[in-house]
Symmetry: C2
Subunit: 253 residues, 2 copies
DNA sequence: GTGTCTTTTTGATCCAGGTCAATTCGAGTC
DNA sequence: GACTCGAATTGACCTGGATCAAAAAGACAC
């Protein structure tokens, strides 16, 4: 594969997606407790500053990468929110996840040197570009980065196991409850309120992740509202009874 | 079926899981075109012989590892067949995959230093033990092993994406067709007939992977049989019309 | 072999969630 | 403000797959 810096530069001239010089480096990034630097030493994080040297801005609705694109880099969400999406051939899409700040995108591309899904921004967003060749080189140099990167991949596998459990053996109510509890935790981990947030995705996108139709998702929001579990008005959600939601999410049929 | 190893015979009477000295090393293993050695040079594969130094035999129904067990090793299926299973708390299980010869088990354990699912043998099976600490050490030494291991993890992520697509957006018929096509390919890759094989898993286990009840799976087998797509008698399956199955699997609602 | 236990098949019935359709809401834009 | 267009809500109805039930077929231990 060509020199990564060149290939990224070339992409910068394309419309839609812009490359900006990285102002905030990993060592001073406010996401360093969530993102790639987790668990690394001071000097290791400083070496990341050299590895993660560029960012891409992606406008709402545009793609960070698409299935079939040549794989060169991983991405860490710096701000905003993405969805990953698989196209099932005939217009049938499946959302495989939503990624928020500090979460990694593109791991699926390593196996076949091409991305296996689309990553679409749900709002205007920024992602840090991590050239994969460099990451490999660095992870051979720094043992804990090496180890940490394996953990990141492994956790993605575990996360997907969770989605499979949800898709394969939960009822609609349980699915949505589990989804809301998960979102709440992730907002909390980023210092936002776990009880009140704005959804970045549509009912249809939530439904796609959960294996439900958008009408069903909408009805469930209304039902949860009526049952005093949440207050939902459009994309604005307030969780009133997290314990109740948790019980719903964990309960058997 | 995969080659019997005479040395195991003596140990067969010992309880449940036995550790046996590895007679067949990676460099002479008949799975080296499928397993960890793929794409490695002669000498790199010889170094694997040092890494993969033991095997475990697991009797049908027993576990290779269980969710919560401390994570120390990865495993490569040497012979037989496993399922990975997630327990959803209250007796509700979800099968997350079936693994056959040459496929890797335990990748989910790296992230949290504990296994996140159970790996259960569907028949008397053997797995090569790959101590993770050693794998890390070796992969820092051998660039292509390093790279290859990342690919293995990434492909597992992609495989799970596929299961999510299946669970989230296919109808029952399409799910089972996709499952049979996948099995057929995997048997073919191992030198077995792609058209005639014996299922190692029950209808219930297939149903769990596909998000269906066992009665539905059974009815679908009967329907496929009636439609001339397959001949199914119990666990023995013959595919008569692979093209037809493929079309079913890829078709929209 | 005989008996026991698990798995599979098949039928009858039911209901959770899908489908179709009609408003209503809300974020942009001019 | 008024207009537009996608997103969300809600109702009415339908259906694919679940559930319940019972019998048949294997698999395995003794």
């Amino acid at each position: 594969m060509a020199n990564p810096s060149q290939s990224i530069e070339a992409e910068a001239s394309r419309p839609i997606i812009n490359l900006v010089a990285l102002k905030t480096v990993c060592s001073s990034c406010n996401l360093r407790e969530l993102c790639l630097p987790v668990g690394l030493s001071r000097e290791e994080i400083e070496s990341l500053d050299e590895l993660v040297y560029a960012r891409k801005t992606v406008r709402r609705g545009d793609s960070l990468f698409r299935a079939g694109d040549a794989f060169r880099s991983l991405y860490a969400v710096r701000s905003g929110c993405f969805k990953t999406r698989l196209s099932g051939g005939d217009g049938r899409d499946q959302v495989t996840g939503f990624q928020m700040a500090g979460e990694m995108l593109g791991l699926d591309g390593i196996g076949a040197d091409r991305h296996a899904c689309d990553a679409v921004a749900l709002e205007d967003s920024e992602a840090c570009v991590i050239p994969y060749a460099k990451l490999e080189e660095f992870s051979r140099r720094f043992e804990s980065l090496h180890r940490h990167f394996h953990k990141v991949m492994s956790r993605e596998i575990v996360r997907e196991h969770g989605v499979m459990l949800l898709l394969g053996s939960m009822r609609a109510e349980e699915k949505l409850a589990a989804f809301l509890v998960d979102l709440s935790q992730r907002f909390a981990a980023r210092g936002f309120s776990p009880a009140e947030f704005v959804l970045r995705m549509t009912r249809g996108e939530i439904g796609s992740l959960l294996g439900l139709k958008l009408e069903t998702v909408s009805r469930l929001f209304s039902r949860f509202h009526a049952n005093g579990l949440i207050v939902a008005r459009g994309k604005r959600v307030r969780i009133l009874d997290l314990v109740g939601l948790r019980q719903l999410a964990g309960r058997s049929s």
